[in-house]
């Protein structure tokens, strides 16, 4: 009787949404448990670090890691899991591109710590103490891992075999990836699950997307109403579908809200934000600098919007702080 393949699921600096997407496999989760041996999954099983450490190198057939790398300890865990696993999948946008956690790269670590632990109006911290980043001592207690200088995506720390995009990925996509591996249908290394084309191609509003879009202005969603059936872009509402990988079943569009790019770019686009910038600029209906500036000034936060999910993986990585 052949042994069941071993699977592990772990989270770095994440939110638990990717775990929820696995739980949303619903009855398929029970099927997974029948077909595979889940050896490490802290959200659902009482598996400990020592159980993981006791496994041999390469003993785990498939490990899904979600969450970005924000603490040194998480980089350590990623490396440990890499050693113990034959295949590692970056599960979800944080692991794939850095995710929303990656917006932290627009600030420095001291700024991020100071805000929460010294400055917010409810905190009372007269000594100005900050948690973490020390080896244990008698005053500060057991050690607590410190923050890495920059948030990183998983493949900036370890070698990654496949990627499941999405924040979080739809359960069907997670299932697709897991069954593909369990059934030996391995894609080529570096494969990103999801569609091969942008979201527009499967969007229910594709018919109303014009060949040419020319806009005299952009509108912020809270200031305007729009037609629920038609493409957002000609209505002046920024939707990132044209620069974003499809495969999410347009769930945001179906709720009548524009895409925010969580699936990341296609393979051909190295920097998601730059790609978004290009297509948005191409829609501007103006020829003179003043007019162009006026139109684009209406976009309140290009860095935060265009790099919402991908700052760590972008060319400049989010900017502040030393480069890795």
């Amino acid at each position: 009787m052949p042994e069941k393949p071993k699977i592990a699921l772990y989270w770095c600096s994440g939110c638990g949404g990717c775990e929820e997407s696995v739980i949303d496999l619903s009855e398929d989760l029970l099927e997974l448990q029948r077909r595979a041996d889940i050896v490490f999954w802290p959200v659902a099983l009482d598996s400990r670090l020592k159980d993981l450490e006791a496994l041999g190198n390469g003993e785990i057939d498939l490990t899904l890691i979600n969450g970005a790398i924000r603490l040194h300890e998480q980089a350590h865990m990623a490396r440990l899991l890499r050693r113990k696993s034959k295949l590692v999948v970056a599960h979800g946008t944080c692991a794939h591109l850095g995710g929303i956690v990656g917006l932290g790269n627009f600030h420095s670590v001291p700024e991020i710590l100071a805000r929460s632990f010294r400055e917010v109006p409810t905190v009372k911290n007269p000594g100005g103490i900050l948690p973490g980043g020390f080896k244990e001592d008698s005053v500060r207690g057991p050690k607590l891992s410190g923050l890495t200088d920059k948030v990183m995506a998983l493949d900036q720390v370890i070698d990654v075999d496949y990627y499941i995009p999405g924040c979080p990925p739809p359960p069907e996509l997670v299932g697709e990836a897991v069954w593909a591996v369990l059934e030996g249908r391995l894609p080529e290394k570096g494969f990103v699950f999801g569609d091969r084309k942008t979201l527009c191609h499967t969007c229910p509003r594709l018919d109303s997307k014009p060949e040419q879009i020319s806009l005299k202005g952009f509108k912020r969603v809270h200031e305007t109403k729009w037609d629920m059936e038609k493409c957002f872009l000609p209505q002046g509402v920024i939707c990132l579908g044209p620069a974003t990988r499809g495969g999410c079943d347009s769930r945001c569009i179906q709720a009548n809200m524009p895409c925010r790019g969580c699936f990341g770019p296609l393979e051909t686009m190295e920097d998601h934000g730059a790609g978004i910038l290009s297509f948005i600029a191409s829609m501007i209906d103006a020829e003179h600098e003043d007019e162009i500036r006026r139109i684009t000034d209406a976009i309140p936060d290009p860095g935060g919007l265009f790099y919402r999910y991908s700052a760590p993986h972008s060319i400049l990585g989010g900017g502040k702080g030393p480069r890795t």
Binding site: D46, L103, N125, H222, R251
Partner: protein
């Protein structure tokens, strides 16, 4: 040399955690550290972001309770822009929020903390999980909980886009109306949700309340914590998830303070420990006096048991009956034993199902007017709601262009931080004698925090 017992990682909760217990020379527990080794910094990196993006940004604080953040955030935006949502929008938001709390509580009961009391104690470390629950209670119950959660989450998706990633919140409304033809499906889901909620309470009755083991545990001082309790209530002091004022009662159950969203700063304060990224909230009106119980300590609790303690009832009939029964069986109000959180949680599941049924037949639910466009200049906004795990506060300050200048977040489990630390310490002291540990003892200690259904991604943000 200090002997340490380390649980790493703690399991069956959302988020990262470690417990380090330090023993003295006689094998008694000296100290217990509850550490949360994760931190992302939303309170900083949301600065510079456009206000209208906040409901979808902040919901990434937690992928288990994104709906709660989405709701608190959109309410903060309503306040920020001083815009009243339409009646339909309020009903839609309350429907998705209530549906979410229903299924999230079930997640905890069947997948996370519930297995501790459903599977019963034995030394088998790998039996306490959803698979063990199914093994004990049967495949059918597994199928039912999976099915009802799928359908209720589908209901959330209908209005919000996805229960994993709700997107519909806008200041003054929501993005999409509920078409009248959907009402019949919503009513069916609410009806079936109610039936399952009653089934859960029956399971609790038969498998847990009738178990000597559980009842004995609920009488142990190991799990008892005399604290203040806090929760949102409606105008009649009954539990409210979506809107209302925050009510705090003291350990004897008398009303201590009551406040609206904008006044939260006068009532709550937080402190920092070096060995954890989770800050500890306490009542400003009492002050921080260390990890202690009692009226003189500023420690307080939130979440299901706390909400029931802090309120004077539930607004739906069946849940109200269960509320009265629970306090009757437990010998009065407030109830201090942490394990009773599991019971309170199921009573809230029942309330949520009844409330979903009420909203499902409300005329306003399908009204096409779902948005009021803001006209005021934004400045400051505070939004509060009850997340499944406790009171959730989003506070935003922006410039006139509605770009975030500053924000403050007080998130659910964080309100329980002090109680969690103290619960773990008490349980450790009660169960570890002469330095002896076993998997069973460690499980008993973990049960001390797991009953709160903690979410550490939320608590640290």
């Amino acid at each position: 040399m200090t002997r340490r017992i380390i649980i790493d990682p703690i399991t069956r909760l959302e988020g990262h955690g470690k417990i380090e217990i330090r023993l003295g020379s006689g094998g008694q527990v000296d100290r217990a550290f509850f550490q949360v080794p994760d931190f992302r910094g939303f309170e900083k990196f949301c600065e510079g972001r456009a206000a209208e993006e906040m409901p979808t940004l902040t919901q990434k604080i937690c992928g288990v309770c994104p709906t709660a953040h989405h709701i608190a955030s959109v309410k903060a935006l309503d306040d920020l822009f001083d815009v009243e949502p339409t009646e339909a929008a309020k009903k839609i938001r309350e429907l998705m929020h209530t549906a979410f709390i229903y299924e999230d509580h079930l997640l905890h009961f069947f997948y996370l903390g519930g297995p501790d009391i459903l599977v019963g104690s034995d030394d088998k470390r790998f039996g306490k999980n959803i698979f063990g629950v199914i093994g004990k209670l049967g495949e059918r119950i597994g199928e039912e909980v999976i099915e009802i959660r799928k359908r209720v989450r589908g209901l959330n998706a209908l209005v919000s886009g996805s229960p994993l990633y709700p997107v519909c919140g806008l200041p003054g409304g929501v993005s999409k109306p509920v078409p009248e033809e959907e009402r019949i499906g919503i009513k069916e889901i609410a009806r079936d949700a109610l039936a399952f909620a009653r089934r859960c309470l029956k399971i609790f009755e038969e498998e847990v309340l009738e178990s000597r083991e559980y009842v004995d545990l609920t009488h142990l001082d190991a799990y008892s914590l005399e604290t203040y309790y806090m929760g949102m209530v409606d105008g009649n002091n009954r539990v409210s998830f979506y809107d209302g004022e925050i009510r705090i009662v003291d350990p004897e159950g008398g009303e201590f303070e009551k406040f609206g969203a904008i006044d939260y700063l006068h009532h709550l304060e937080e402190r920092v420990d070096t060995w954890s990224y989770m800050k500890t909230l306490y009542l400003k009106g009492v002050g921080w006096h260390g990890l202690r119980e009692g009226k003189e300590s500023g420690l307080y609790r939130v979440g299901p048991l706390a909400r029931l303690n802090a309120s004077e009832g539930l607004a739906t009939p069946l849940a109200q009956q269960e509320y009265e029964r629970m306090f009757d069986v437990c010998g009065g109000k407030p109830v201090h034993n942490t394990l009773v959180y599991h019971w309170a949680r199921l009573i809230e599941v029942l309330y949520a199902a009844e409330r979903m049924g009420e909203i499902a037949v409300d005329d306003q639910l399908t009204d096409p007017e779902i948005r009021n466009i803001p006209v005021q200049s934004p400045r400051k906004g505070v939004g509060i709601c009850e997340a499944p795990r406790g009171t959730l506060i989003h506070h935003y300050e922006t410039d006139e262009a509605a770009i975030l200048k500053r924000l403050n977040l007080l998130v659910a489990t964080q309100n329980n931080a002090g109680a969690i630390s103290l619960s773990v310490l008490k349980a450790a002291r009660a169960f570890i004698k002469e330095g002896r540990v076993s998997d069973l003892i460690l499980n008993r200690i973990e049960m001390g925090y797991r009953a709160y259904d903690p979410c550490m991604a939320c608590a640290t943000h």
